[in-house]
Symmetry: D2
Subunit: 322 residues, 4 copies
């Protein structure tokens, strides 16, 4: 389903090569000041155009048709949409017979019995993350004291991002990376036991972002090597500050007042210019596939703001549920 | 909230030191043959008693009071409960003032304003995973062709489990581990784009299991080091079989017919006998804490069946949504 | 599904002739004082035993196995169950072939492919309203200032209840009635536009009560005969008090601070001793049916507390959503 | 909240005097043929312009920006919006101080702390029923065999509609009415016990339609006067046909294969030109109020298609849940 959240409920719509992509937000409180300018900074961070990102450049101007009046939210559904202008659908025709490795061409075709619009990745496209970013801008307004810091900490296994990306470009290949999100100034008590823990809700939305294949909180997979006495974060003051933060700011699924820290891994972009040897479902033979459409060499460069705003959506929802 | 799922909806109840723990399952189809014996094997896998697990041994006999009649499900809510018998609540009194590092004592106390029953970890206790295992037994009956294989692949950073556990016991400390779950014979098409992807739903429930701090699918965090040409799983036949399985059987959030593979990391048990230097919220000074209650040196030894049955719950739900 | 509510979420389980009936409540705040005695008065109101009600008399003692500790709610799922003791299942065998008119025997059989437990009306039985009453007792504690007054205003088309019931008993027949519920001391602002209006939520739960066939708010069906100038409730003071209350205390789906008033109609009990000429699905011929099981001549006599507590469930949920 | 449904989930947006009104539909299966022409007939039925309806006439052309491609649904969210063009917001200024009797001016103002856009009735306006009609057009395509017949059976207490409306116009007053909806060719088994009965779901959405104050199924409130032997619908053949239909086609909350029949009552339009004596919250005195904006003398004339399509939304949802 295209709907997420409990009190701050978002429904995304559109597809990569449809007329628009958009989001409806149901449950935003009334009286929050928002203008279309508020979206600019975050949308710009997601935008392509830099080295290693796609040549499909969209203006990405938000159209708000409901829920904001005289510069404030009204308590009604907020509807935001973005036009798709820069589309080249002919690029996508052959993938019906030769589904692209790593993409949802095959699974989407079978699940939707050939009726889904898979052009540009259809509904599984990175384009669908634009509404997520927009909804996150609103979410941040609901929890204005919470601070987010999100950045790419590794690309293609390296800290030298430029080189990793340039190498991939030269080879007509792609690279992924690891993104770290740090959320501070968040009070004790966000999150619901048992099922709607902070980790459960954050991971749920993170894996909705195309290309995410793993998530870890605090020390993450490293805790498997620790003893309990090393892993436990002892308390040091009445505010509940901990000496270490191996738990990533979450105990028993609930925020403990320390920084929430998590990392996600983004796979290399599936679309690559380099020749791939894969299966042609029409001829029933292996074939060479060269993907010529425009695509990001490293989508991970554009992903931090998506991760951050997706996290904001979850935290605003948990805040409104408290 | 204590409710999870869409079509196969479970609500868990009880707490570690209350009268019972239990689960209500709403949405199980009528006509599925189930007897109380069907629970034995999975419940036994979760049971303590082995070296490295707690001395709190419960009989764990399921009481089914609704939803099964004459050995078959009736379409009505299935209610299963388990008595808590072997309780020593006096062990837990002092943690009000000195919240245990790594536990939810502090967050639970603040969130529930001192009203929650935190004895034995209360609602965040590992005891709450017993209803999950029971619900998973039912879930597996809904998708009988799907095969699960789940095992601990690393304990305390080592493949030599016995030694890692023995070392921790000697030091009055604890260890965690990494669990891998492989799910085969699953058709193409499980999972919903955008938000209810297979990864989103699986991670959501996995992070409900106490002590899980990370999850990765297929090649997981390793994909950050790969090129797209290495990471992409090319198709090799009409069934959609892929030459590699870096995607862990999931493309665009939907099962692609290959084995679903994921790993979770379990932190070392937070309760340790070893002295910890932490904060006393009553005296407002640092203090020594020795936790004397019964606990698992390595809860990860008992976690694989919990992970497996939690995965079964998600897949049964996604199956019924198709 | 057997689950209702958003923040105050209830799941009912059991069936008329199973071991128990019960309810799980997910979302009740921590710290509310509740004892098993609190249930007595409302459960007694629902109880049979009076003239015109069934001879199946159950002790109806609530067993609380989760969510209440030391006399207060813990924030955890509240589990309440009631044993079914006084069962005579042999009474129900023949209704497989000759489904009882007015009952769910036929629809249940087809929907659940013969697997549901239809004895005693199974899941559609009036017995399932006992958990509703119990959940309502908890709900009322969440909104202690709200006052409920609920009574039967008409039985069998008459204000003389005793005579109407006695006549029906003499004829081995049954009668229904109209129940009015008045809810006062409720502040402005309960209810959510658009879909979760007070009327929508109340009617949703009311039609879950077996035998309810209509609901009207305020002047109800009478408004069809009024002019707008008669129907509109003009305001008379700063509190929003209205001169009349044709709207039943609800404007635009939201409580307006005046008394909430609604009426529901309860059909005559479907099970009657009087001979009915109906279809035998085995012999494929019309046949005479005499229903000998124990049943209420006028279930409406026991329904007011069910209606009232169902209303309390909705209002507690809407309160927690505010 | 502005979201309704389980498998066929709709979110409505916009307000009477905002830029647009619209609906997002999440969960519509892929492959259903739909063109913008399919909406014309139902939208026309809702349109104003006839005697007794408002002079605010909108073109009501649906804009579909997502979810339909090449004339077929894609399985993605369907987004439909309608521009608001014919707006005269100055008409609504004074209602801040003098809330209109029967309207949501006061409750909306208090609930949303003065931030909601109440012009034209805001979110509680009859204009919000246009997206409902549009969503119903799609819903009907999902259950193409089901036949709907919906009509106004009484206006202002009379069968002579023209006269009742003309009288009201002359008096600057308004009238309401009763609408009957008959749904045939619907198989046994729609509806879920316990809470999501056909009656529960239908009544839930009906009371979302502004101005509905009562609903009854089959014989409705008349059953209060019947004996069980009169009220019970005896079966007469193997298909489950009943001799009478007092139950309105629903037994135990589940469709029984006979015609589903229900009636709703629509109150007289609250906005009337006739002088009303009501409270001025600014001056704190009673005052005369004359409402000069454009409004329907009898909104009930336009309501049948809204009722019908709202019913279709419920039935499509229940169908997809089966």
């Amino acid at each position: 389903m295209n709907t997420f959240g409990n009190k701050f409920k978002i429904t995304i719509s559109g597809s990569s090569h449809g007329k628009t992509v958009g989001v409806d937000i149901d449950g935003c409180p009334a009286g929050i000041a928002i203008t279309e300018n508020d979206f600019s900074a975050d949308i710009l961070k997601r935008k392509s155009g830099k080295v290693g990102t796609t040549q499909r450049i969209e203006s990405d101007v938000p159209q708000i048709s409901s829920g904001i009046s005289d510069g404030k939210t009204t308590g009604n559904t907020i509807s935001i949409s973005f036009e798709n202008k820069n589309i080249r659908s002919k690029d996508y025709d052959k993938f019906n017979d030769i589904p692209r490795p790593g993409h949802a061409d095959l699974t989407g075709k079978i699940k939707y019995k050939g009726q889904s619009d898979q052009r540009g990745g259809g509904q599984s496209s990175g384009r669908m993350t634009l509404p997520i970013v927009a909804a996150g801008v609103i979410a941040k307004k609901i929890i204005p004291d919470v601070k987010f810091s999100t950045c790419l900490i590794e690309v293609g296994g390296s800290k030298d991002f430029d080189k990793a990306v340039e190498d991939a470009i030269k080879e007509n290949d792609s690279v992924g990376g690891i993104i770290e999100c740090r959320i501070s100034n968040i009070p004790i008590g966000f999150g619901e036991p048992f099922f709607d823990s902070v980790e459960s809700m954050l991971s749920h939305i993170m894996f909705s972002i195309p290309g995410i294949k793993g998530i870890e909180f605090g020390a993450g997979f490293e805790v498997a090597k620790m003893k309990g006495s090393e892993c436990n974060d002892v308390f040091i003051d009445t505010k509940g500050t901990t000496a270490t933060n191996n738990a990533g700011g979450i105990n028993g699924g609930i925020s403990n007042g320390n920084e929430i820290v998590f990392r996600v891994v983004v796979k290399p972009t599936s679309s690559i210019g380099k020749t791939q040897r894969t299966f042609n479902f029409k001829t029933k033979e292996m074939t060479d596939l060269v993907i010529e459409g425009r695509h990001d060499t490293c989508f991970a460069l554009r992903t931090p703001i998506i991760v951050e705003n997706a996290a904001a959506i979850v935290l605003a929802d948990l805040f409104l549920r408290k």
